[in-house]
């Protein structure tokens, strides 16, 4: 049989039966399904239509006035600044620092710039500025805690006290309680370097912070006598020198021993000195040496011919003696200092 002449009659199959459906032949469930299907189609058509209309609008705006697309959306004027902080700064300070113009609109604010302004003060460690619609600016800040004070002169003005934080940041403290601020010892022996409108960070403040923190927590009486903390020899032999109201120079080592033990020894030495030689105040204590013996220097008063101690004014010129202060053995019960 030739293939070219093959033209067989077509037979109808069940697939030729039209499957279109009328609601007349449907049960209630069928009608419900049909309505659901129609709803789906209508919904899809609406979504496609809306998307198409949106694209058309976008294209027409792009062609006619492209600046409208990049322009910030208009919004209502800023009503309030919501501040969250872990420190002492208040809303008034934030408003002063941000310097927002009156009637500024929320969408017009340059948030990164505002954040920069907050961080530039030094007291603010981190700052998050966010829009809270419709009309609130949310400011969340984390503040630095001061460890010590430092005197510095800015320009031709009189020297003034700045705060130094644990990370070495030097800033003008705002909002601190004056009595609390005055308990902070002064920092000495460091050279402040200008950096922009402020100062560069000071090295070694983490060790100072650890020392003062340990003193404040364990020997608050001693801490209150600390007046000046010097980092003059920190870079040379890793020591921190503290001038207190009782001792001119207490040397702490940052590598030889922990501050806790050094403070315990100092406490013991001061107690023993007061008990044994109340007339011979300590001039210097070197806790950086370590071991069971601590080098100390006494202020030896000059005795006059009549056996009296001269006036205190003569004290700076007075000679002083050095000695090794023996600490009790570690296993002795009396050596155990319990703050």
């Amino acid at each position: 049989m030739s293939h070219l002449n093959v033209n067989p009659p077509s037979t109808r199959t069940w697939r030729d039966i039209p499957q279109n459906v009328t609601t007349k032949g449907m049960t209630r469930e069928g009608k419900k399904r049909l309505a659901f299907a129609v709803g789906n189609i209508v919904g899809l058509a609406l979504v496609i239509g809306a998307a198409g209309w949106g694209i058309y609008e976008l294209v027409s705006v792009w062609e006619n006035n492209p600046s409208r697309i990049t322009a910030a959306a208009s919004s209502v004027p800023l009503r309030e600044i919501a501040l969250r902080t872990d420190g002492v700064l208040d809303k008034a300070w934030v408003m002063r620092t941000l310097g927002l113009p009156k009637g500024a609109r929320l969408m017009e604010l340059n948030l990164p710039q505002l954040q920069e302004r907050l961080l530039a003060t030094g007291q603010v460690q981190t700052a998050v500025v966010a829009r809270k619609f419709p009309d609130i600016l949310a400011v969340t800040i984390q503040e630095r805690s001061p460890v010590a004070r430092i005197m510095a002169q800015v320009g031709a003005g009189a020297p003034q006290a700045f705060m130094v934080a644990r990370d070495g940041s030097v800033y003008q403290g705002v909002g601190y309680d004056l009595q609390l601020a005055e308990t902070l010892p002064f920092l000495d022996g460091v050279k402040l370097v200008r950096s922009g409108s402020g100062f560069a960070r000071v090295e070694g403040l983490d060790q100072v912070s650890d020392l003062l923190g340990a003193a404040r927590a364990n020997t608050p009486v001693l801490y209150r006598t600390f007046r000046v903390v010097s980092l003059a020899r920190y870079a040379v032999d890793a020591t921190i020198t503290v001038k207190s109201t009782e001792v001119d120079a207490i040397t702490f080592g940052v590598v030889s021993d922990g501050f806790y033990k050094q403070l315990a020894r100092l406490d013991y030495i001061l107690d023993e000195t007061r008990r044994q030689n109340p007339s011979q105040p300590l001039k210097a204590v070197n806790l950086a040496v370590g071991g069971s013996q601590v080098p100390v220097a006494f202020d030896i008063p000059t005795v006059t011919a009549d056996g009296r101690v001269p006036h205190a004014a003569a004290k700076p010129a007075a000679p002083f003696g050095t000695a090794l202060f023996s600490l009790p053995p570690r296993n002795s019960s009396s050596s155990k200092r319990d703050f």
């Binding site: 009659p9 077509s10 037979t11 039966i17 032949g25 449907m26 069928g30």
Partner: protein, 402 residues
């Protein structure tokens, strides 16, 4: 495009009940049965829809139950088709292999297939299935003659057809649920697919699905379906016979059939009586057990005889080595395998669902719907493969002529 799993409903609108299974077809063509629904059928006589509204309500109730059981909506339906209105005939065609080197081409196969399927049908009738028998190349049976060498290629189709109106009624019942009918599958083919193994089909097997209103059968040989048929007699006729013979209501007769009916007479004592209810209440009566067995077995034997007669010379015991496989609700009648073995002269057994089928679906009444899913998926996969082959041929021709 978002791809997702497809939920296929296998629906059999039977004379006594409507069964629905929901299969979840995943992207990797794995099928999981996730829902079952059943409902007592109404408006269906001998497999054909007689009352559209009643049939729709029953079918939709079963569909809703299945959807609730699966927790999802059906995307499309594979529908079982049965009924005495279905008929079949065999038609074959042959072509001479066209190429000079006598190698069979895809065009030769396409031509012989189209010729074999191209017999005109009487007015108002339409094709339900074209079941192809194995190709013959120069007289030898070949599963796929492509690229084989020979001179004469033959193909034969068993075509199942039915009246357009009755087929459309079944489809419209499903469309009334606003779901598309994706496949229309003969009940016997569906049952055969799930119960007869490839070895059974190769060796020759006769699968008989005895439902309530119809008995569907399919004869397999050489790995494919040779012949199908529907006898408009089923288990309902056994009930009817008992009802008429013993002057009982349909319900009472059904109860007696389920309790005492048999496909073979085993009771020797003709005086042995059985109670209708056994509760000694007013109206409870005694019946001869021998009589009940005789009535039911006579009808079962008659059904088998009719099937055998319809098969005619196509059936031979020698070429049906795997014997008779029985299924359907009436196949649960005791002794039915024995009766089938005696009538057909071959071994007979009750069909067993494959191991992957869950315990609650292993009842013979579910074999047809299970087979719908299996046959529908395999035939669709085959259609897809043919389409792909045709596409590749077209591309091949394009490059060949360039």
């Amino acid at each position: 495009m978002i791809s997702r799993n497809k939920f296929i409903g296998a629906v059999e609108i039977g004379t006594s009940k409507v069964s629905v299974l929901i299969g979840e077809l995943s992207q990797d063509r794995a099928l999981h049965i996730i829902g079952v629904g059943e409902c007592q059928s109404r408006g269906v006589i001998k497999g054909a829809v007689a009352d559209f509204k009643a049939a729709s309500e029953a079918t939709h109730a079963a569909l809703i139950a299945a959807e609730q059981s699966a927790g999802t909506r059906i995307d499309e339906v594979y529908l079982a088709q049965s009924g005495g209105h279905l008929e079949g005939f065999y038609n074959e065609a042959a072509v001479n292999v066209s190429s000079a080197d006598n190698m069979v081409s895809a065009l030769d196969i396409d031509t012989v297939c189209r010729l074999a399927k191209s017999k005109n049908l009487p007015d108002g009738r339409m094709v339900v299935h074209h079941l192809r028998r194995p190709y013959r190349l120069d007289g030898r049976i070949v599963p796929d003659p492509l690229h084989l060498v020979g001179q004469r290629l033959e193909a034969g189709y068993w075509t199942v057809h039915g009246p357009e109106g009755k087929i459309a009624d079944n489809i419209h019942v499903i469309r009334g649920f606003n779901v598309r009918v994706a496949e229309l599958i003969l009940s016997s083919l569906a049952s055969g697919t799930v119960l007869a193994s490839p070895e059974d089909r190769q060796n020759g097997a006769l699968v008989i699905d005895i439902g309530a209103g119809t008995t569907d059968f399919v004869l397999y040989r050489d790995g494919s379906a040779q012949m199908t048929g529907v006898v408009p007699v089923g288990g309902g006729h056994l009930t009817n016979d008992l009802s008429l013979g013993l002057r009982l209501t349909e319900g009472q007769a059904e109860k007696l059939k389920l309790r005492f009916g048999r496909a073979t007479v085993v009771t020797k004592d003709r005086a042995e009586k059985v109670w209708l209810n056994g509760d000694f209440a007013i109206g409870d009566r005694q019946f001869s057990r021998y009589g009940i067995e005789q009535v039911t077995s006579a009808r079962v034997w008659e059904i088998f005889e009719v099937v055998k007669k319809k098969l005619g010379p196509a059936f031979s015991a020698e070429k049906t080595a795997s014997g008779v496989i029985l299924t359907g609700g009436t196949a649960k009648l005791p002794g039915i395998d024995e009766a089938a073995a005696k009538v057909f002269g071959v071994q007979a057994r009750l069909g067993e669902a494959p191991g992957w089928v869950a315990e609650n679906l292993r009842d013979p009444a579910f074999s047809s719907v299970l087979g719908l899913l299996q046959y529908g998926l395999s035939s669709r996969a085959e259609t897809g493969a043919t389409t792909r082959r045709k596409t590749s041929n077209w591309i091949g021709k394009l490059f060949a002529t360039a």
